[in-house]
Amino acid sequence: MLIEDEPNIAEAIRYVLMRDGFRVSLHDDGTEAVARVRAAVPDVLILDLMLPGVSGLDILSALRADPGMAGLPVMMLSAKGLGRDREAATRAGANVFMTKPFSNADMLAQVRALAASCPQADRG
């Protein structure tokens, strides 16, 4: 699952991942994020830090607070790569922190690794 508000970036990420065999569900804002994730049960969540009106960190903290989603691998995306933001993301429970602009190859490699580490790895 991908939660990212920039449509062109979202489209590019989705294309790259789908070409590699992943199914990608997309949401462009943070509303109902926790409920949606819970319903979709993705293998990997890619979450943008700066979403309109909502902080990606808050969403992540809420997810981690739910015992059913404690093991979900999360990649945090952000245009700000400051040490502070990276630390905050890690503390909130992000497995990987990726700064924009990123290379498609890097992003794909990280997502593959995260999917492999996920307990439900046999889903697409």
């Binding site: 920039e6 062109n8 970036i9 590019a12 245009a79 700000k80 924009k100 602009p101 498609n104």
Partner: protein
């Protein structure tokens, strides 16, 4: 008193310049020739009365003999030493400036002293500029936004272009889609970059000088003798004032506000009324139906006025200074807490008067009149905004006076109950932190 008085040397110089004999001068002044000789060699202090009579005989002002006009420069030299860290090491410590002999240095090397003061001022300006820029980079939402925009579009361009370049069998529809995205985001990228460059250019232009805008405005006003003649009837009006000498936008905004205020003052308080009120701001305010602060401003800023003026806001921050020789006003930071100006803040609408004395040689007494105005710009239910003003008039009167200073850091008064921080001057006055019994009241 820490400041050395070289009055004797000046007396001697002046006497010789006029070609007068020691015995004759002594007789005119009413002292013996031998006593005058001791005075001239700075072996005896000069009493206030003798000083006045000497000044009269030598046809100069008493201030010229005691070097009172230099007091402000001596304070600046001390402040420069503090800023350079000499204060911490202690006067006279290896490599530190001999702060206690600043007056002597000024007397012997006025050129070097002026240069030191000038450089200290420049350093302060540069430090302020750096601080503003750092602040900006860290906290400016516009900058943050502009950067985010650039990074987002760059990210999209990168990912989209990589897909187009690396995907061999890309579907025609997708290709078209991605080409359109690429085009859109590269335009965004250009717009974002241009905005960023324009923004950084504007920052550079405004802050290049690094001057505190308030100081710039004061310098501009001082250059015109603290009187905007153009605003009097017969002058050219607001349009005739040249604000181009002010480098920063902030200074120009302040100056424009000041000018608008002064124009309103000139309209409401014609020169005839100003001259007829006997220097009394409350009378002038009543005669012309204006507020007392406006009247004070008008009195301080008329041509040839020797009265100083300081205006502060409800937090005690100084909004404007019209300096007067002998009354030290700090360039930045908090002033002396004992100024009647601050006492007035807690008594809006009440005249606060005091006779104040500044540390230093010669006659440094001033008649101080302060007043606080409380206004309610947002109406009855809105916040109360207080401002206070103080007129400072030289007043060589005897009697009990408030012992004041400019600011604690460079004030020589050793036993002031209001001292908030140690002074850099440690020679005569025990200028340490307040005594234990006072700690609880300080906080």
């Amino acid at each position: 008193m820490a400041v050395t008085v070289l009055a004797g040397a000046r007396v001697r110089e002046r006497r010789l310049a006029l070609g007068l004999r020691q015995a004759d001068v002594a007789r005119s002044v009413g002292i013996s020739g031998s006593y005058l000789n001791l005075i001239e060699h700075d072996r005896r202090r000069i009493g206030a009365e003798v000083l006045d009579r000497l000044a009269a005989v030598l046809e100069v002002s008493a201030a010229a003999l005691t070097g009172t006009g230099d007091a402000a420069l001596v304070e600046e030299l001390r402040a420069a030493a503090v800023a350079a860290g000499s204060g911490a090491a202690g006067s006279g410590a290896a490599g530190a400036a001999e702060v206690d002999r600043a007056a002597e240095m000024l007397g012997r090397f006025p050129g070097w002293a002026a240069m030191i003061a000038g450089q200290a001022r420049k350093v302060a300006q540069l430090e302020r500029a750096v601080e503003v820029l750092n602040d900006r980079i860290g906290h400016d939402p516009h900058l943050s936004q502009a950067l985010h925009e650039v990074l987002s579009s760059a990210s999209s361009v990168r990912s989209t272009a990589a897909i187009l370049a690396e995907t061999e069998d890309i579907d025609a529809t997708w290709r078209a889609r991605f080409h359109a995205n690429l085009h859109q985001d590269s335009e965004r990228l250009v717009a974002g970059t241009e905005a960023l460059v324009a923004y950084l250019d504007s920052v550079e232009a405004a802050e290049a000088q690094g001057v505190d805008p308030l100081e710039e405005v004061e310098g501009w006003l001082a250059g015109m003798g603290w009187h905007l003649a153009a605003l009097e009837p017969g002058g050219g009006g607001v349009a005739a004032l040249d604000l181009s000498g002010l480098a920063s936008g902030a200074a120009r905004v302040l100056a424009r506000d000041w000018v608008a205020q002064a124009a309103a003052d000139a309209n409401a308080m014609p020169m005839a009324a100003v001259e007829g009120c006997g220097g009394d701001p409350v009378r002038l305010a009543q005669d012309c139906g204006v507020g007392v602060l406006a009247a004070m401003r008008r009195l301080a800023l008329r041509p040839g006025s020797d009265v100083g003026f300081v205006l502060c806001d409800g937090a005690g921050a100084i909004l404007l200074r019209k300096p007067v020789p002998g009354f030290a006003m700090p360039r930045a930071g908090a002033a002396c807490a004992l100024w009647p100006l601050f006492a007035a803040l807690s008594r809006p609408g009440t005249p606060v008067t005091a006779l104040g004395e500044m540390p230093g040689p010669g006659l440094r007494r001033f008649g101080l009149r302060a007043w606080c105005e409380a206004t309610y710009p947002a109406g009855f239910g809105g916040p109360e905004v207080r401002r206070a003003g103080m007129l400072i008039a030289p007043a060589p009167e005897p009697g009990e006076a408030l012992a004041l200073g400019g600011t604690c850091r460079i004030c020589p008064r050793g036993t002031c109950p209001a001292r908030r921080e140690p002074s850099i001057l440690s020679d005569i006055a025990p200028a340490g932190p307040p005594a234990r019994s006072e700690v609880s009241t300080r906080f």
